[in-house]
């Protein structure tokens, strides 16, 4: 039997079918398309990705153990054997920095999640409820903010001793007020939108309103703050370790490595240079990523 349709006609029909298919374009996909075009953000993303891989595979990457001491190779400047040199105990700084990524990144992540769960949630509640609840929560946050972070960290450490939980608690308390304020602002912005009123009009309950409408719509902004806070947490942690109220030696935390090299700054500056470089690169990458995310989620803010 003769063919009813020529190949060309079939092609046209297929094209037509394609055109009539529902268009797939979620807001998140649109944001990703914008993000992809932003070169600096992509650099940030790549650097952050590398750092995360380094943290995960630290034991494969580091050539030495982070705490094994080699008394035959103390205070060596950078060489092919010791990429970042060695410290006063003959420990390989490159290995310590690599392991440090594990500590710094994951503790920072932990701190930020803790801050989000405490401060962020309080901010969401304050923003949603408004009125007296809002005032009470935000004034308490103001009180927290008025205590200098380092002071608070020192208090916590002097009472509870050095350690990761104490460090997390200190950073969490320090970043809670800002986290609360940012999340409150994000919720307030969404709360005033017509679609919230429209959902109220069709009888959507409070919980559903918060979780199905407000948080998804505020999520973009919240993610941006979250990423920004990762950088801040790393800085805070390092600062605390550097002055001795953070983690205890010999943990290879970047701030601690800096602290180790402090005494030899004039004779062996590389001992401080490399951990400082790590902190700087990490914070810079997170900030680039955060800025990129902001532009991607909120193209109007540019």
């Amino acid at each position: 039997m003769a063919k009813l349709y020529t190949p060309e006609m079939e092609k046209i029909a297929k094209k037509k079918a394609k055109r009539n298919k529902p268009v797939k374009s979620t807001p998140a996909f649109e944001a990703w398309k914008r993000f992809r075009r932003n070169k600096t953000a992509i650099v940030g993303l790549i650097v952050v990705g590398i750092l995360i891989l380094v943290a995960i595979f630290a034991n494969f990457i580091a050539p030495y153990d982070y705490q094994s001491q080699d008394y035959l190779a103390m205070m060596q400047p950078p060489s092919s054997a010791h990429l970042f040199g060695t410290d006063q105990f003959g420990r390989d700084i490159f290995s310590r920095c690599v392991y440090g990524a594990r500590y710094s990144l994951f503790i920072a992540l932990f701190c930020t999640i803790a801050a989000l769960l405490s401060g962020g949630l309080l901010g969401i509640i304050a923003g949603y409820c408004g009125g007296v609840v809002d005032t009470v929560i935000m004034r308490i946050m103001d009180v927290f903010q008025s205590i200098p972070m380092i002071m608070m960290a020192m208090c916590i450490v002097s009472v509870l001793g050095n350690g990761i939980p104490q460090l997390v608690a200190a950073v969490m308390f320090a970043s809670m007020p800002t986290m609360a304020r940012n999340n409150r602002a994000a919720i307030l912005r969404v709360r005033g939108c017509d679609y919230i009123e429209s959902s109220e009009a069709i009888g959507v309950g409070q919980m559903k309103m918060i979780f199905k409408h407000m948080i998804p719509n505020a999520a973009g902004v919240m993610i941006i703050y979250f990423v920004g806070f990762l950088a801040v947490s790393i800085m805070m942690m390092s600062a605390m370790s550097y002055i001795g109220v953070g983690l205890a030696a010999p943990t290879p935390e970047w701030g601690l490595i800096l602290n180790d090299g402090k005494a030899y700054l004039t004779s062996s500056p590389y001992m401080m240079f490399f951990p400082a470089l790590m902190i700087m690169v990490t914070c810079f990458a997170f900030n680039l990523l955060g800025d990129g995310l902001r532009d991607a989620f909120d193209p109007k803010s540019k």
């Binding site: 009539n20 298919k21 529902p22 268009v23 797939k24 374009s25 979620t26 807001p27 939108c193 017509d194 679609y195 009123e197 429209s198 959902s199 109220e200 009009a201 069709i202 009888g203 959507v204 309950g205 559903k208 409408h213 998804p216 719509n217």
Partner: protein, 321 residues
């Protein structure tokens, strides 16, 4: 006379502001018959939308009664209201660009009210009902997975209409549903609303500032000025026989599509009186070209001048043609 679906009695909604209480809706009384459309007109800020939202209990009324199907819904606990009447009174919002959650697609948006109000329905039933609503308001099936930002204003407003209608309401507050749309699309949406009204016996309260729209769709027209109802009459009457000077000014603002038509515009001078703690005088007096001392001294009451035509003006008789 047909049965009243909704009776508003001395409804007041005051907002407290740092400078005093803002009288957004002040002593409005109104009956709305079943199956009819009441147009509410007035300039921006005169309390039209607040009136609509107060009827929906999106704003809590300060005082007064709203009798819906024989029961006072203004003073019942909000929980009881939501349970009993939430679905019966629905609203179509002014700005179709802002009133749809940008993170939901068309089908999800229309499913939402159905899902929320019929907990026992299965997912398939909900989707089927939502698809039925899409067809009813003229949204093509292929738009199911599309997000609102990809659609034009008319289609978005159709989603808004579908959302409101999916609950089978009896009364719909249309809050300037076409003012954000192009003129060509305005007509489509208005016709859709009228068709739906005929099919389903809906009652509308149609809020707008556009007199030509109101002429097209309303049975009765209410003119509001600074929270008060100043004139109410059947729709054709207001275009023949406007009484209140403010309504006259509003009507003279309608463009006439005729090059040779002689058109005298009545241009209002002066500023809007502040709605915060207004003095007991005619609120329009400051802008009224006919105002006298009496207008500043005494607040005019609503009077029925002809059958079904009430006006609040001291000199209403003078303006009757």
């Amino acid at each position: 006379m047909a049965e009243n679906l909704l009776e508003i009695k001395n409804l007041k909604k005051y907002f407290s502001t740092p400078r005093g209480s803002l009288h957004a809706v002040d002593n409005v009384s109104l009956n709305i018959e079943k199956g009819k459309t009441v147009g509410v007109v007035g300039e921006s800020g005169c309390g039209k939308s607040t009136l609509g939202k107060t009827l929906m209990r999106l704003h809590e009324p300060t005082s007064g009664e709203i009798i819906f199907k024989g029961e006072d819904i203004a003073n019942m606990p909000i929980k009881e209201f939501k349970k009993k009447y939430r679905a019966d009174i629905q609203m179509i919002f002014q700005d179709p660009y802002a009133s749809l959650d940008p993170r939901m697609n068309v089908l999800q948006l229309i499913e939402e009210p159905i899902k929320t109000n019929n907990k026992s329905m299965s997912r398939q039933e909900v989707s089927a009902k939502a698809r039925e609503m899409m067809e009813l308001v003229g949204l093509a099936k292929r738009l199911e997975g599309v997000y609102p930002h990809e659609l034009d204003g008319g289609r978005r407003q159709r989603i808004g209409i579908a959302r409101a209608l999916s609950l089978n309401p009896e009364f719909i507050v249309c809050d300037e549903p076409v003012s954000a749309l192009d003129v060509s699309i305005q007509a489509q949406i208005l016709n859709l609303l009228q068709d739906l009204q005929q099919e389903r016996g809906l009652t509308y309260m149609f809020i707008t500032h556009d007199m030509s729209v109101v002429k097209h769709i309303s049975d009765d027209i209410v003119v509001m000025y600074l929270g008060q109802m100043i004139e109410k009459c059947p729709a054709d009457e207001i275009f023949k026989n406007t009484i209140h000077p403010y309504s006259q000014a509003l009507l003279s603002a309608i463009p006439i599509p005729d090059v040779h038509a002689k058109h005298e515009r009545m241009v209002l001078k002066g500023e809007l009186t502040s709605p915060i703690d207004p003095k007991p005088c005619c609120r329009f007096a400051a802008r009224c070209p006919y105002a006298t001392e009496q207008c500043y001294a005494q607040e005019p009451q609503l009077r029925e001048l002809k059958s079904n035509h009430v006006v609040a003006c001291h000199y209403a008789e003078k303006f009757v043609k």
